[in-house]
Subunit: 572 residues, 2 copies
Amino acid sequence: MTRLARYLPIFEWGRTYDRLTLTNDLVAAVIVTIMLIPQSLAYALLAGLPPEMGLYASMLPIVLYAIFGTSRALAVGPVAVVSLLTAAAVSKVAMPGTSEYIVAAITLAFLSGAILLVLGFLRLGFLANFLSHPVIAGFITASGIIIAASQLKNILGIDANGHNLLEIITSLFEHLDEVNWITVIIGVTTTAFLFWVRKGLLPLLIKLGLNVRTASIVAKAGPVAAIFVTTLAVWGFDLASRGVKIVGDVPTGLPPLSLPSFSMDLWSSLIVSAVVISIIGFVESVSVAQTLAAKKRQRIDPDQELIGLGAANIGAAFTGGFPVTGGFSRSVVNYDAGASTPAAGAYTAIGLGVASLFLTPLIFHLPKATLAATIIVAVLSLVDFSILKKTWKYSKSDFAAVAVTMAMTLTVGVELGVTTGVAISILIHLFKTSRPHMAIVGQVPGTEHYRNVLRHEVIVDQSVLTIRVDESLYFANTRALEDRVYDEVAKQPDLKHVILMCSAVNAIDMSALESLEAINERLDLGGVSFHLSEVKGPVMDGLNGSGFLDHLTGRVFLSQHQAQTAIGAVTT
Amino acid sequence: MTRLARYLPIFEWGRTYDRLTLTNDLVAAVIVTIMLIPQSLAYALLAGLPPEMGLYASMLPIVLYAIFGTSRALAVGPVAVVSLLTAAAVSKVAMPGTSEYIVAAITLAFLSGAILLVLGFLRLGFLANFLSHPVIAGFITASGIIIAASQLKNILGIDANGHNLLEIITSLFEHLDEVNWITVIIGVTTTAFLFWVRKGLLPLLIKLGLNVRTASIVAKAGPVAAIFVTTLAVWGFDLASRGVKIVGDVPTGLPPLSLPSFSMDLWSSLIVSAVVISIIGFVESVSVAQTLAAKKRQRIDPDQELIGLGAANIGAAFTGGFPVTGGFSRSVVNYDAGASTPAAGAYTAIGLGVASLFLTPLIFHLPKATLAATIIVAVLSLVDFSILKKTWKYSKSDFAAVAVTMAMTLTVGVELGVTTGVAISILIHLFKTSRPHMAIVGQVPGTEHYRNVLRHEVIVDQSVLTIRVDESLYFANTRALEDRVYDEVAKQPDLKHVILMCSAVNAIDMSALESLEAINERLDLGGVSFHLSEVKGPVMDGLNGSGFLDHLTGRVFLSQHQAQTAIGAVTT
């Protein structure tokens, strides 16, 4: 049972399911369903796919996540950044609007799902760690800008495309003479209205006496109101005949059974994108899930989350969907609306099923400009330049990583942006740890403390050199250590002893061990003996097993003070 | 003057040059010249180039290194591993024996030189650190095996080729019916003789009363004796007409002025190989130079070494040579023979110049099998499988890196072998630091010490959780920290305080800072306050500037004991 519950968390919360929980979940499901309808349509549009695929991608995936996922409030479905990544990946292999494009999107969901499942079964969730926070923040901000820019064509009623900001802007300018002014009026009004709903309506409702929770849920229904009004307007005034682009015919019915392609050519074209989508989706999802879980002191299991999200994406691939992940806004609404268990997600799926069975004819006249407006308002909340300021202040190297990630994402594209970001963070980390802080230390008079000679008034014995390294020793920084030791030794002709103070050394890898052997040997050639002090337990265990101590010309001391007392002339 | 001396070390040692130094240098030069003649010819053969190019590559490069390099004893010229890398790189773009092949080798020297110079001027020598010791050791051992295998064809007198062990062995078996038995006799006898010189002659000479230094120098002349005897034999019995392959016509004269190609196509095909050659050559050279410098308590400057080696390679490119670096055996001979300054290198160059002016007709009948034998004997001393045993015992992850490097080098090729090795070491490092050692600590009764609850009998307060992380906090391990903290908090319902003990934290990057902010915020949602203890000075400076402390629900304590005393109920 416990073992089963590990892979199927449903057995954990399912046992205590009662009427109160059911009511909570049902209320949450109704609210989330109303919010998800426009959002799903809009993200399908963003991914370059038919609107109904947004609905399909929100049904089975939610249910599968409810069975396999560990977060009680996470709502899985299409989200802005993953939809943008999908568009970028799929348009490399097919033209938007073709059936190949749809098959490629479905296949991408399948590959992402497979990757997530494999990572989950191998418990490799830690791989997501290589995406540093600043890189993600920069990437999401840059993606938000690209998404907003890409939707301007729908607000202006023109054709334009491109996968980075430069391409999109160029393309918009080229088509600027085709602007449809009625579309512009719909688009701009809707955008303004949705911004007002976000910023103005909520305080107003609270002032009118609604409590904060109800008010914020009502405010989330803003897009539905916008859809209702603009659809009516387009239908009533027959604006489609005047050039306003509408959603048009959306098939009625439950999600179809779809199959991903098993063409190796297509797989090899999509696999890198699938990796990027899986990791970005996983990181975004886990971060949302952890925030929500913390509020109730619940816990989520990141490796099991991989399985939940993997199942959701495989589900999307077989029911006409596209890559999905846990979305921030829908999860927060779900949580705020009182969802108690993942079953709320299942009820949401039923709600969306009802909508796609009966409501799709009603959105025939829905203008694309309205959907674009909902996307723009949603993604502009992702745009946050404060990470640049924060990193600039705290760490220039993190700033460099963010700046490069944003610049690459905006000017070249999303995939290269995020992969460059990862590569740069790793290089910066290696660079920093390859030049560790090292200090020559001396004794603080009258104490057993040893401090940096440059910062403190300390006593130094001319025949003993003590170097403290403030970093674990590994291949990238062994040369820096060797260089420093040889430099200091060359400077001090009277030297008889070198002590390496290891209080900050958490690990010594094989390269570092060989460097220590080389230092020991080379110092010996010059008649200097080599000692270690303050070696930590696990490090000492390693040294004991290595034979290093057999050749060591000096000794290993538990504390620096013992070393100094045993070796040099100290004032006690 | 000091500034000039930094880039031109010749001004440093040149000022104190006197008659004694001159004598020492001249003696060393004569000995090294005699040893270098066969070695240079052999390595040119290994690189697939005409033998005279080996001589050319040993002249101007030595002089340029003498001017720009910092090691007093390093001898620069063709070396085995770099010659193998040259063959691998150049045969990708041209057929051995063609003039394109020669131009490509010259261009490769030019590109390697340019890369080394750029790295030197930018003081980027630390990049070489990313080659971990075990990876280099594994790579050199595997390269030694490939080199020895590649020379078997010359011992057998057949044609065979290939860039990895599998290809070479397959090719040897395919041509086994063409074996020339006279060549085999010459090759095997010479190889056996040279092994005896190395293992048997040296002890014999010492027994006969020579001192160790003289004996080892005489033993180094073994290859010259072998060349003399086998050349005479081939000439005397006209063995060339019986199928023994000889060196043949070697042009007489000083190195020609040559020009690298400036074709961008060729450059882009060679640039990756040039990077690999530069880094491998640099690492090998610095390691030799550091060992020799340590014996006299001199120092070398790795960044200046880049400039010295860069100049040497540029010199090779303009005088008909191919990529060079500081070689181990020749440098040791140079040192043992008493070379006092880099001027010894310049005299060696003069000696080689005299040889290529007057001696090349004498080696017309030199059998290639003799050169192959000198290569085999030289490289088999590079082969050392003990690194596998050492790493297996000390660190399984380092073992994995070596094993993969060796396997890839032997089965796929040298370039992919070494690049895979670098990638694997970096991944392993990231993997290890992404799962740092963390311990829940408690108070050792009656003391101010706090230790791991799993290892010691300690007192733990149920309302306070103290976690010690034994690693700097950065993007790769922040999630592990968050997961652990949330797990522990979820397990202990009575918890009121979490203390993060930072005694082993040398740095906190922006990702980790944001993780700490997230932990602080999420713990606050659950009514738990978050404290830090034992934060190091530089880390504290960073936190002070970041605004993190403004939001911290708890406090920062200098010591863990202060934290425990202030927060919990402690036994004192």
